[in-house]
Symmetry: C2
Subunit: 342 residues, 2 copies
């Protein structure tokens, strides 16, 4: 084994996780899905399935407390946590919250964080059943673990998409990134102009700022799927950005994908921010993460039926044979490879 | 609500968690035990129980990388995680590991950490089924969440102890703290004498250093309880120290406790370290944490039977009526209150 210092950046967190998951480790036969989907899946004795997922949020990396109120942070963390369970077509039941808390945080700040967690918990009907609170001499680090349930009939993996399936997206894309761009701009303004300056007016940007700070996990889609007895062939939530999620579904399903740029759902407010920043709004939609929308695949016939029951989604493309690769038809009619998009 | 900055230290993490758990939050009727035991307990449809627990370890607070090899750290974190499941008389099945990793850590260091996790995972037959890897600009923070199972017949809470029950402890106490004292002394020596000094010989202290760095969770006790069909009336693992754990069992069971100082199980190696440090070894046993031993209560008759099947435990006291409080009979025969022990 090499004695050289190999940085994690040089292989990326995905590369590192691949290295690690190739180790010789104990395998539990009850585990039907380990690392590699939105949540791990474990078979219970009764035949139903347990879903487990967890995420970490690092101050200064994943959130900036200068523009993130702690109650919003709590709300977002719980929402993102349950979103992983929804992405498996499951129902979140309980969460554990772990905090490493620097001593510049007051009791009130931690209470605010929990108020946000509890507010989102009510909405998604999950109980905070445990966790840990430790002192940290450095920054705030929050981990959340989510426990959810689904039965074998309804579970939706990334790997189930079929050739010809429509690729569907709830809501709209790029809003969370647009909100982040605004908050970063305002932070820069505060830093340059100091405390004596007038507080910025975020009212005009309320839509996108909310998309960034208090995103909503799409319980409504999963509830409707259940009520109307539709089961997507695959599903994933939008946390890393559309291109990344389409790649994940395609890779897991051993297929290619063909996306129509003109079909990308983008809110007018998101467009306005991109215009103001003189940036390309389609890039927000393709690469912006954290929207917590759900992307799912369904046969064309099923889409035509489902639209009668749920209308906050659009079809943005089709699953195609693997040989056809990952392509996007631009608004101008050109066809570009995902590899050329970056 | 007060606008003053109230430090977390001023109310303690326990006080803060109490504040938080009094909030108006969603309650899931499937949750039969929330915050307040070694693990949360959730009832499955089939009738069996799911156990969930999670812990956080902060570099510079919970571990010091100058004397903690990363593979040991991984081993210890997994062992402490499964210990919470054993404390409920359960079987650990799977874990999720979350890392916030500073960029001064190499790929090899993270691999070492996982090697330790996997080594302990094999021993305890748990699979690493997921988690998260994030960059941190500050220190290493590790969270582990453990999923375990137990049936309703075997689950052991903190709250089930009966008056007259014997208080039993596996293994021995204070070893992990003795190991920590040695490692801290050696660190100070290195810092004062620099790199040119001879590496210290830890061979004489191998027993206690191992107790600190690679403690063993007591799977053997839980396996034997199951095989021989014994069910403790209550159980907890030794992570905060004996006095704290006896208090937790007594409080949860609404009883008092009477402990015999002379009965505290202390290894000869632990005594030698305390002597060398000119410290009181009984304080190591009473207040030292992280031993990962199990403390359990059982009726006297059952203890007499159980000793035929498992011999690495001793009786250190009895559960008494609540009115009699928390007391310890010293080796000299005096009776002191827990409150006077600190």
């Amino acid at each position: 084994m090499s004695e050289e210092f190999q940085t994690i950046q040089s292989i990326g967190s995905k590369g590192l996780l691949e290295k690690i998951s190739n180790y010789d480790a104990f395998k539990n036969e009850k585990v039907t899905q380990s690392i590699g989907d939105d949540a791990a899946v474990i078979k219970e004795d009764g035949g139903n399935l347990t879903l487990l997922s967890s995420d970490t949020y690092v101050e200064g990396v994943d959130f900036d407390p200068t523009y993130t109120p702690f109650n919003h942070l709590g709300y977002k963390i719980l929402s993102a946590g349950v979103s992983d369970i929804y992405a498996m077509n499951g129902k979140p039941e309980a969460v554990l919250v772990n905090l490493a808390v620097p001593n510049r945080m007051s009791v009130q700040m931690v209470e605010d964080l929990y108020q946000g967690i509890y507010a989102a918990g009510k909405l998604h009907e999950v109980e905070v059943v445990g966790g840990d609170l430790k002192a940290n001499h450095a920054n705030l680090v929050v981990s959340i673990s989510v426990y959810g349930k689904v039965d074998e009939e309804h579970i939706t993996y990334r790997k189930g998409a079929n050739e010809g399936d429509a690729i569907c997206i709830t809501g709209d894309l790029g809003g969370a990134l647009a909100g982040l761009r605004i908050l970063m701009r305002e932070k820069k303004f505060w830093e340059e102009h100091g405390d004596e300056s007038i507080q910025p007016e975020l009212g005009d940007y309320q839509f996108v700022v909310k998309r960034q700070l208090v995103p909503e996990a799409r319980k409504d889609l999963v509830d409707t799927l259940r009520e109307q007895n539709f089961i997507p062939t695959s599903m994933i939530d939008i946390t890393k950005g559309l291109v990344s999620e389409v790649n994940s579904i395609s890779e897991a399903s051993d297929l290619g994908a063909y996306i129509y740029q003109a079909a990308l759902p983008i809110a007018i407010e998101t467009r306005q921010v991109a215009d103001e920043m003189q940036e390309d709004v389609d890039r927000y939609a393709l690469f912006g993460g954290e929207d917590l929308e759900l992307m799912f695949t369904l046969s064309e016939e099923k889409v035509e039926e489902f639209v009668n029951h749920f209308n906050d989604f659009v079809v943005i493309g089709r699953m195609v044979p693997k040989e056809e690769g990952m392509k996007m038809q631009t608004a101008e009619g050109d066809v570009v490879s995902f590899d050329d998009l970056s």
